[in-house]
Structures are given as structure tokens and as C-alpha cells.
């Protein structure tokens, strides 16, 4: 196979001491920026980008992509230990990861997160290796109606498959959609809900909201309850890692499903967030023990992490093949490529074969080296939980505030973060789930734009959402998932009614 030969060539380019050393440096830096809430992958890569200007393109991209892998691994650490997702797609990881840490199983949760990240990325890299040309033409099939259908699917699967009360999910989601509408509307070019304030102009930044909703509210709850992070010093040893690994094959269906969802959604821009939520919800839906989700089930860490990282990695494909970055970090990498005179686009794979295959080979190597590196440092991270709450809480609040400020260099965002902290606290008290709000805040704008562009193009005809097989299938699936609880009962009712009749 041509792809294999080219890949081997790519490995040949990489296996020098200099490149391997750069990889290690990149990974460590990446984990570091991933751990700091708010700093995260995109900012980290942006800060470190100029470091690479003096290198040759291959060394530079290897280092940058290793920072990227490091940040992906690192993002899971704060989600699990402090309930503060560093990146949008880490939100779903907090659902079961944080309860696990509270039960003293932080090491297991971290091991599970890292390993499933590895599996997800690996599946996506395999996909990139063998299907690159075919996939880029698939991505081109996505026009506004198709994009809207995918977002609709994400929203509907949330309502239909979620564990919480339906009305509470919808309340939370509607609030998110409302907040997403603040700022300048792309389609009409008009300001909405800014009330003449120039701080509101930018809209509500997703990360600011997430840091407040999850991080600050958690601190508030902990303060109220016991003034202690409820995590205990976990016993960390190779044995823990081994146990998780031997336990893992039992969840092969979940891992496979999440990888597939991740790869599929990763190819559509912004898919990583949708993928992590969808991976989590589907794992819950098909589990025999639905009730244990959200209470520290290891499968609840496997599912979203695998999906998020499969899609985070797959997102590099549209960036390379089409020049559309699938995530914030991918966008910065895109800028880097251009500085080195490599223009992402259909011809990159033809004109710069060495570079592309060097990058793909570095994905394999970076992932393996990264996994070993994070696993060997799990004890260090888990030890953070042993620090007294009174010492660590102010540090978390300060680093949250720095993170919120750094995103847009705006003081206003710190106030916004605090407001979201209070909202998060109240919601947790009255049992309204936070995840639908976050999801709506991220995807609300894009879904709205996609819907309105579809309507402009189709002159207001809703039939456009069934105008071809692709969009028709996704839309129908979305509606089925929305009414799934009713359908499920109906089907159960019918089969029950039939059985006695036959007997």
C-alpha cells in the first residue's frame, strides 16, 4: 500500500535524537498548559508558536503537534481533580471523572482518561492514514443544512437520552441558547442583547462560562459543606494502571462506539464537543446499569474521552486537506503552517508529501510517548488532592480568574465568571443540569447560523432538511432521538401486548 510506504518514510524522518528530544519538550510544555485552567491548548500553542520560527518546518510541526497532544492529555487532569474542564470537550469527562476522584479513585480515573484518549486518537490517526483523500471529499458534502442537522442531532440526543428530567434539561438548554445570542449576529450584522455595553459586544465566551459554572461553583459548594476537597490520597502504583488496563477490554463496545462517533464528528468542524457529549450519552443509553452514571463510573470516563480525542485528532484532517480548522488549537496550528509557507488545502497532500507524512508519523509517536509520560506522572498530579483545601482553594480561584482574564484580556470576563459561578451553584442546588447550558452556549450560535443560512438558500422551505440522503438521515435520526423515551415505551408496550397474544 502506498500509504504504508509513505508512513514508513515519515517515521524515518522522525527517528533522530533531535526530533525525539523536541517531542519530549513539546509534550511536557503541552501537559503544563493543559493543566492550567483557562490557559488551555489554543493559548499554549499560540504562546509557543514563535519559538518554532527558527526551526525547519518538520521539527517545528512535530514540536507543535506534541504540545497539542500534551494539552489534550493535560486537559483531563483538571476536569477530574477539580471539576474544571480546560477545554470544551472535557466537560463530559467531569460527569464521572470528578465523582471518581471524590471517592478516592483519582488515579483510576486519570489512568482511564489517558488511556482512552490514547485509544481515541489512535483510531483517528489510523483513519487519517488510510482514508485521507476519501474523507476530505466527504467533508465537502456539508453545507448549511447538513451542519444544522448535526447540531440538531446533538441537541436532540441530549434531551432524548439524558438521565435528568426532560423539562430541566430543556430549561437549561434554552438559557444557554439565549446567552449564545448575545453579541453581533453574523447573519444580519446587527447587535443583539448588548444593551449598549461594549463589553457585551463580544458575547459570552464559552470558556469563561465553563470556568465559572463548574470551577467556581464547585469551590462554593465545597466551602459550604466541609471545607475539604473530598478526594483522598489515592494509592498509586503500576498496579492501579494495570488494573484499569485489564478491566478495559470489558468496555470494548463503548470504546469502539466512541471512536466511531469521534472520527465521524471530528471531520465536521466543531465536532469534538458534540462528540464527547454524544459518546457519553450513548454509553449511558446502552448500559445495563444507567443509574450508576454520573456517580463515578469508569465507563463514563472512557466514553467521552475516547470520543473527544478521536474527534480532536480527526479534526486535523479537514485542517490539512481543506484549510478548515476543527478546533481552536487546530486553528493556531493552521497559522503555523502558513508561516512556514505550507498552505493547507487539497494540494498539500500532493506537493508536500514528506511534511504531511512526517506529521502523521509524529501523531503515532507523540501519542505513544505522551501516554507513557502522563502515566508515569499520574502520582504527581493525584498528590495535589492531598494538599489541604484551605491552601489549594485560593490558588484554584486565582488561576480560574487568570484563565478567564487571559482568554480575551478583559476584566469584565472575571466578573462574568463570578456570576456564572453563582448560577452554577444555584443550579446544582435545585438540580438543574449544567451540561445542556454549556452545550447550547457552544453550539447555539453555529446552529442558528446554519439554520438561517439554510433558510436563505432554500427561500424558507423546511424541506431542505430532507433534500438529500445525508441530511435527511441525520435530521430523521435527530427527531427519533428527541422522542426516544416515548418511542421506547411504545415499542416496549407493543411487544408486551404481543407476547401474551401469542402465548
Amino acid at each position: 500500500m502506498e500509504a504504508l510506504g509513505l508512513l514508513m518514510q515519515g517515521f524515518g524522518v522522525l527517528l533522530t535524537w533531535k526530533i525525539l528530544a523536541l517531542m519530549m519538550v513539546g509534550l511536557v510544555l503541552g501537559i503544563f498548559v493543559g493543566v492550567l485552567p483557562g490557559l488551555g491548548g489554543p493559548n499554549g500553542v499560540a504562546i509557543l508558536l514563535p519559538l518554532t520560527f527558527t526551526m525547519d518546518p518538520t521539527s517545528a510541526i512535530v514540536m507543535l503537534s506534541c504540545i497539542y497532544w500534551g494539552a489534550l492529555f493535560g486537559g483531563a487532569i483538571t476536569s477530574i481533580l477539580f471539576n474544571i474542564p480546560g477545554e470544551a470537550w472535557s466537560v463530559a469527562t467531569t460527569f464521572d471523572g470528578y465523582p471518581m476522584a471524590q471517592q478516592g479513585k483519582a488515579a483510576e480515573a486519570l489512568t482511564a482518561a489517558f488511556t482512552s484518549s490514547f485509544i481515541g486518537s489512535f483510531a483517528a490517526v489510523l483513519l487519517i492514514t488510510f482514508l485521507a483523500p476519501a474523507i476530505s471529499s466527504f467533508a465537502l458534502k456539508f453545507g448549511p443544512p447538513e451542519f444544522f442537522a448535526v447540531y440538531l442531532l446533538t441537541f436532540c440526543s441530549f434531551v432524548g437520552l439524558g438521565r435528568e428530567d426532560k423539562h430541566k434539561t430543556i430549561i437549561s438548554m434554552s438559557l444557554g441558547l439565549l446567552l449564545a445570542g448575545i453579541g453581533l449576529d453574523t447573519v444580519s450584522g446587527q447587535l443583539r442583547m448588548t444593551f449598549g455595553s461594549s463589553d457585551m459586544l463580544r458575547g459570552v465566551n464559552f470558556l469563561v462560562a465553563v470556568i465559572g459554572l463548574f470551577g467556581i461553583s464547585e469551590i462554593l459548594l465545597t466551602m459550604e459543606e466541609r471545607l475539604a476537597l473530598r478526594g483522598h490520597a489515592a494509592k498509586i502504583s503500576l498496579r492501579t494502571v494495570w488494573q484499569v488496563w485489564t478491566d478495559m477490554p470489558r468496555y470494548w463496545v463503548t470504546l469502539l462506539r466512541s471512536s466511531a462517533i469521534g472520527c465521524w464528528l471530528g471531520i465536521t468542524p466543531g465536532g469534538a464537543i458534540a462528540a464527547s457529549f454524544m459518546g457519553y450519552n450513548l454509553a449511558k443509553r446502552f448500559s445495563k446499569d444507567k443509574e450508576s452514571f454520573g456517580k463515578g463510573r469508569i465507563e463514563g470516563v472512557f466514553a467521552p474521552e475516547t470520543a473527544a480525542h478521536a474527534s480532536g485528532t480527526a479534526a486535523l484532517l479537514p485542517m490539512l486537506a481543506l484549510g478548515i480548522p476543527g478546533s481552536g488549537t487546530a486553528a493556531i496550528l493552521l497559522g503555523g503552517l502558513m508561516v512556514w509557507g505550507l498552505n493547507p488545502g487539497p494540494l498539500l497532500f500532493v506537493e508536500h508529501k514528506d511534511f504531511v507524512w512526517g506529521l502523521i508519523a509524529s501523531m503515532y509517536l507523540g501519542n505513544i510517548v505522551g501516554l507513557i509520560l502522563v502515566l508515569s506522572t499520574v502520582p504527581v498530579f493525584a498528590a495535589v488532592l492531598r494538599v489541604p483545601f484551605a491552601a489549594i482553594a485560593p490558588m484554584i480561584v486565582v488561576s480560574c480568574a487568570i484563565g478567564a482574564f487571559a482568554i480575551q484580556n478583559a476584566m469584565f470576563d472575571i466578573w462574568l465568571m463570578l456570576v456564572f459561578g453563582v448560577i452554577g451553584y444555584v443550579f446544582k442546588k435545585i438540580g438543574i443540569p449544567l451540561a445542556p447550558l454549556t452545550l447550547a452556549l457552544v453550539l447555539g450560535n453555529r446552529a442558528e447560523d446554519a439554520f438561517r443560512l439554510s433558510m436563505i438558500g432554500a427561500e424558507g422551505n423546511l424541506g431542505v432538511f430532507w433534500s438529500n440522503k445525508l441530511v435527511g438521515t441525520i435530521t430523521t435520526l435527530a427527531i427519533v432521538l428527541l422522542f426516544w423515551p416515548i418511542l421506547d415505551r411504545l415499542i416496549a408496550g407493543i411487544s408486551k401486548a404481543r407476547r401474551p397474544a401469542r402465548a
Binding site: 447587535l191 493547507p344 436563505i456
Partner: protein
């Protein structure tokens, strides 16, 4: 600051900045503020400048690119406005500085910033999908008129340069288009390749790669004269082979500035430093390469010439916006 004193300081800056080493130098990393998303034309240009400055050692402090494309770029404008007196931030501006305050009533006027220099002029080209049968503008317009549902024209943002061009194309030809505002030129390019829209009016840099790959067709360029680069870009065509729209019977012209601005209330020394810095940037091989590759017009203006140009360009853009009916009441 009144118009007169502003001009006077500009002239003074020009007179006293002659020595190569300016008196003032940035003491911390300089932020180059981009009023658009990642990968767009402004971002690409900012990264080129960052690399040119770093590779040629034009400045001691590093330069960082800061993307502030929120609210269709309004974020960057407000950010610059509120950074009064901070000479460590420089905006890479385009026609947005005239249009956004008009269409969305953003409290911003470019006169509140300090103009440094105009570094290039950008072109607009009418593009269609390569698989479509029309070979020239005439065929395209005929097809648009004959079509049952109006043709879909994609572009960046709403009530901005791309939509203005669409409105004027409609006015001159009588064809009707449905305008689809996307978040970036890159998105408009891939949507055209995927046949989700019938045409776009992207800058050359935004469609360059898909043009080279033979996925889109360049119908005409919205300028008085053809683009003056004769090296082959695709297998058969150079930029110069694209006819002007006027040659093709579509009399619409538009050029867009790419200019550098400092925040308001900076000192003359500080301004002089940047005038000198960007002058040097335009002399680097990186800049020259970039101009040719992305088909930009290498224009350099500063001081009084720039102030005069900005005044005129503002008037032209305001007139276009008024005629297109995009000015918010």
C-alpha cells in the same frame, strides 16, 4: 485631537523619524491585533509580518499575533479603542473600520486611533465552481437570471465588503442573488467547492489553494486593471490572465486597504518607531513573496498621504454603504 493637529503631528513624525534608529523602542512583546478569525486573510498577513520581523531581526521584542475576531471583528476595534496610549498594540485593519460602525452602530471611529501606514491593497475576484458550464461573466449572469431560485452568493459577514459587491453586481446586471453570510472567507471557499453556493467574491488569498487545485474558476477581478503578476499559478493561468469585471461588462470596482494602526494618544516617538518598522517590513523578501503569492497590490503610504487617503477611502465606503442600504438608522 483636531484634524489639523493630527495632520501636523503626522508630518512632524515623518520629518523627525528619518534616522534609522528611533528614539523609542517597545519594552514588552508587541501584540499585532487581527480583527478576523484564524486562517483568514488578515491572520495570514499578520503571521507573515511576525515571521518577517523575527527572521530579519527588525525588533528586539518579540511580536505576538492576537486574534480578536469576535463580533465580526468589532472585538478588535473596541479593544484598540480602549487601549489608548498603549504603544505595544498594533491593529492590522481593513475596510471593516469604516463599515462596521455604519452597519452595526458600533461606537468606533478610526480617527480615534493613530494611523501608521498602509501596507497593501487587496483585490476581490468573482469565483464560481469549476464544474459549472459557464466560462465567463456573461454566461454566469445569464445562468443566474435564468435560474428558478436565485443563485446563492457566499461571503464573509453581513453588510460588509462582500455583500456590498453582491448588491452592486445585482444593480449593474439585474440578476438576483441570495447572499449567504459565512464567518470567514475560508468557509466561503470550501462551501463553493462543495457546490453549496454558486459563487463567492473572495480575496485572492482566500481562494488561492482551491483555485490551484482546479476546483474553482476565476471569472473576473473587481479592479480598474488586471492583477500584475504573470507567473503561472494554476496549470494554465496566472493572476494576470483573469479579466477585469469591467472588460467583461460588469462595471463594479472595489479595492480594500490593509493598514496598520496604533491606539489613540501615543507619542510621536512611538509612532515613528512603527512607521520605520513597517517600512522595513515592506522591504523584506517575506513581504514581497507574500504580495505576489496572494496577489496583493504592494502599496505603501504613511504620514499625510495616508491621512488623505483614509479620508477619501472612508467617503467612498460610506457612499457605497449608503447606496446599498446597509447603514443602520
Amino acid at each position: 485631537m483636531s484634524y489639523f493637529t493630527r495632520t501636523a503631528t503626522a508630518v512632524a513624525a515623518l520629518l523627525f523619524s528619518a534616522p534609522a534608529i528611533a528614539a523609542w523602542e517597545p519594552t514588552k512583546p508587541v501584540e499585532i491585533v487581527v480583527a478576523a478569525g484564524a486562517g483568514g486573510a488578515s491572520d495570514q498577513m499578520a503571521r507573515m509580518m511576525q515571521a518577517a520581523i523575527q527572521k530579519n531581526n527588525l525588533m528586539k521584542q518579540p511580536m505576538v499575533v492576537s486574534l480578536k475576531g469576535g463580533a465580526s471583528g468589532a472585538e478588535a476595534l473596541i479593544y484598540m479603542k480602549s487601549s489608548e496610549g498603549d504603544a505595544n498594540k498594533v491593529l492590522i485593519a481593513y475596510s471593516l473600520i469604516y463599515m462596521l460602525p455604519l452597519s452595526a452602530k458600533i461606537p468606533f471611529n478610526w480617527r480615534e486611533l493613530t494611523p501608521v501606514s498602509v501596507v497593501a491593497m487587496d483585490q476581490f475576484v468573482l469565483w464560481s465552481n469549476a464544474s459549472k458550464p459557464y466560462k465567463n461573466v456573461k454566461d454566469f449572469i445569464e445562468a443566474a437570471k435564468a435560474s428558478g431560485t436565485p443563485f446563492k452568493m457566499g461571503g464573509t459577514g453581513s453588510k460588509r465588503e462582500d455583500q456590498v459587491l453582491t448588491v452592486f453586481t445585482e444593480k449593474k446586471t439585474g440578476a438576483k442573488f441570495n447572499y449567504l453570510p459565512y464567518k470567514s472567507g475560508g468557509e466561503a471557499a470550501t462551501q463553493l467547492v462543495g457546490n453549496h453556493i454558486d459563487a463567492n467574491v473572495n480575496n485572492p488569498s482566500e481562494n488561492l489553494e482551491v483555485w490551484r487545485a482546479g476546483q474553482v474558476k476565476a471569472l473576473c477581478v473587481f479592479d480598474k486593471e488586471r492583477i500584475n503578476y504573470t507567473n503561472k499559478v494554476t496549470d494554465t493561468q496566472s493572476w494576470k490572465d483573469i479579466p477585469t469585471c469591467k472588460e467583461e461588462g460588469l462595471d463594479v470596482q472595489y479595492l480594500m486597504l490593509r493598514a496598520m494602526f496604533l491606539p489613540g494618544k501615543v507619542t510621536d516617538d512611538q509612532k515613528a518607531f512603527y512607521v520605520d518598522l513597517f517600512k522595513k517590513v515592506t522591504e523584506t523578501p517575506e513581504y514581497k513573496d507574500y504580495m505576489e503569492k496572494q496577489a496583493l497590490k504592494p502599496v505603501y503610504m504613511t504620514g499625510e498621504a495616508m491621512t488623505k487617503f483614509l479620508g477619501e477611502d472612508d467617503a467612498v465606503n460610506t457612499a457605497l454603504m449608503n447606496e446599498a442600504g446597509f447603514v443602520a438608522k
